[in-house]
């Protein structure tokens, strides 16, 4: 279950006394970022458009964390994975939102 969207390695799940998340800390962060940012954008009426380079900037911490924890510069931390995932998920959703907004704009410009 959920295996198509995450590797779900047991030691990387966020657990407490109630149970564990179905996704790893990083994926939970990504989807949490998408969810949080979708709520923020839902409340905002005027969304500024930022250059696409910020998506790469937001993606840098997650890539750095994956590389650093994989090669052993520091040990894997669920909190770091969650935070870097949230940053990337938020940025990815922002650009997805801008893209969909552009689509509606393009459709509006087309002659009926």
């Amino acid at each position: 279950m959920y295996s198509p969207v995450c590797h779900q390695e047991l030691q990387k799940l966020i657990c407490n006394e109630i149970g564990c998340t179905f996704l790893c800390a990083r994926c939970t962060g990504i989807y949490a970022g998408v969810f949080i940012f979708s709520l923020i954008l839902l409340l905002k009426t005027n969304v500024p458009v930022y250059k696409i380079k910020y998506l790469f900037i937001a993606g840098t911490p997650i890539i750095a964390d994956v590389i650093a924890s994989s090669i052993g510069i520091y040990s894997y931390s669920k909190l770091t994975a969650f935070i870097t995932g949230t940053i990337f998920g938020s940025a990815a959703f922002y650009y997805f939102y801008i893209g969909i907004q552009n689509w509606f704009f393009e459709k509006g410009r087309q002659p009926q």
């Binding site: 295996s3 990504i30 250059k51 393009e106």
Partner: protein, 167 residues
Amino acid sequence: MKKFLPSLVSGFGAGVLSVVPIIKTFACCLIIPVAATLSILLYQRAENVDEKIETGKAIFLGVFTGIFAALFATTFEVVITLFTKQNDLIAAFGNMQQMINSFPLDDQLKQEVIDLINIVVTELKTSGFSVIYSFTLLFNNLVINSIFGLAGGVIGLQIINAKYKNR
């Protein structure tokens, strides 16, 4: 058919990578969006387009990349299982039973789910093929890959269109 070609090519690539062990864990979040972006680049090359591409086109290419990737990935997975009689579902069956038992659901319902999965696992172990498994896999892949293909197409388009910003 020509308009589907970029999606077919990149979808095939993504489908192949989706069954490679280790790499397949990145299938939805990385491979499919990258394949969707690649299909836009292929479309640009094939049609000799040197201007901004419309979002509708990117969505079309992204969704179809996801659909083709799902079709190829499911086919490869089913064929591999047919020969090896081994796959992720069989490997995870023990843990899956524990997880289903931890759900706050009616005991009878939980038992029915476990029995159904047990039938599928038995079929896979004996003949290497299960209709329920194949259909579920195809349905899962179609839904997930289409969504991630769409997202990849929309976000990838902005990366590609960035160089035409000042035109």
